[in-house]
């Protein structure tokens, strides 16, 4: 039962353009969402998060959008840089007693071409 899904295994973007990574979830109890970036031989690195009470959160080149009615979130990277090439995971959490239990999607490999 895949509660968090990233349906695009890979995405290729030209440097300077926008990268849009998508994530869908099925469990309406999720109330906190995060994006992590992972380089080979390293652990996931936190990028940005959003609470279910918001629909948008920005941090520099990264913006996360949340559409609760569609159970969909997306990560926008503008402008994309070659150093952004990595695997991107979305993750979701349920508050209360499930603090600290992240449910991850399968990941999307982003390649940014110079």
């Amino acid at each position: 039962d895949q509660q968090v899904k990233q349906n695009s295994p890979s995405l290729s973007v030209q440097e300077g353009r926008i990268s849009i990574l998508n994530c869908d979830y099925t469990n309406s109890m999720f109330d906190y969402f995060l994006w992590y970036k992972k380089y080979p031989a390293e652990g996931p690195t936190f990028l940005i998060s959003i609470s279910s009470i918001k629909d948008k959160n920005e941090d520099g080149r990264f913006t996360v959008f949340l559409n609760k009615s569609a159970k969909h979130l997306s990560l926008h990277i503008v402008p994309s840089q070659p150093g952004d090439s990595a695997v991107y995971f979305c993750a979701a959490e349920i508050g209360g007693t499930s603090y600290g239990k992240l449910t991850f999607g399968q990941g999307t490999i982003l390649t940014v071409h110079p």
């Binding site: 906190y32 499930s98 992240l102 991850f104």
Partner: protein, 116 residues
């Protein structure tokens, strides 16, 4: 400040053996979570420990166990290894102060376990 550290970085075991993986959280962090990442998939939650007590457990068999020590470091033990246990095992730490705003989990580089 040092990040989350894990040891060993790589490990090769044979079926039926037992393995112990170690994790040291970021200084000041009191919560440690363990995740298993199989190739081509996202990390899957195994355990969370806070103040030396198990606070959450994922859908893993009893062959998997863990503990947290007074200095907040943690060990993950896997008994009777199966081929399917081959994976990257990730440890994450967070401050986890109950009642506070959501706190980010910071991941270590992982231990890559190969079971032959």
């Amino acid at each position: 400040d040092a990040g989350v550290t894990q040891s060993p970085t790589h490990l090769i075991k044979t079926r039926g053996q037992q393995v112990t993986l170690r994790c040291s959280p970021i200084s000041g962090h009191k919560s440690v979570s363990w995740y298993q990442q199989v190739l081509g998939q996202g990390p899957q939650f195994i355990f969370q420990y806070y103040e030396k007590e198990e606070r959450g457990r994922g859908n893993f068999p009893d062959r998997f166990s863990a503990r947290q020590f007074p200095n907040y470091s943690s060990e993950l033990n896997v008994n009777a290894l199966l081929l399917g246990d081959s994976a990257l095992y990730l440890c994450a730490s967070s401050l986890f102060l109950a009642g506070r705003a959501r706190e980010t989990q910071y991941f270590g580089p992982g231990t890559r376990l190969l079971v032959l």
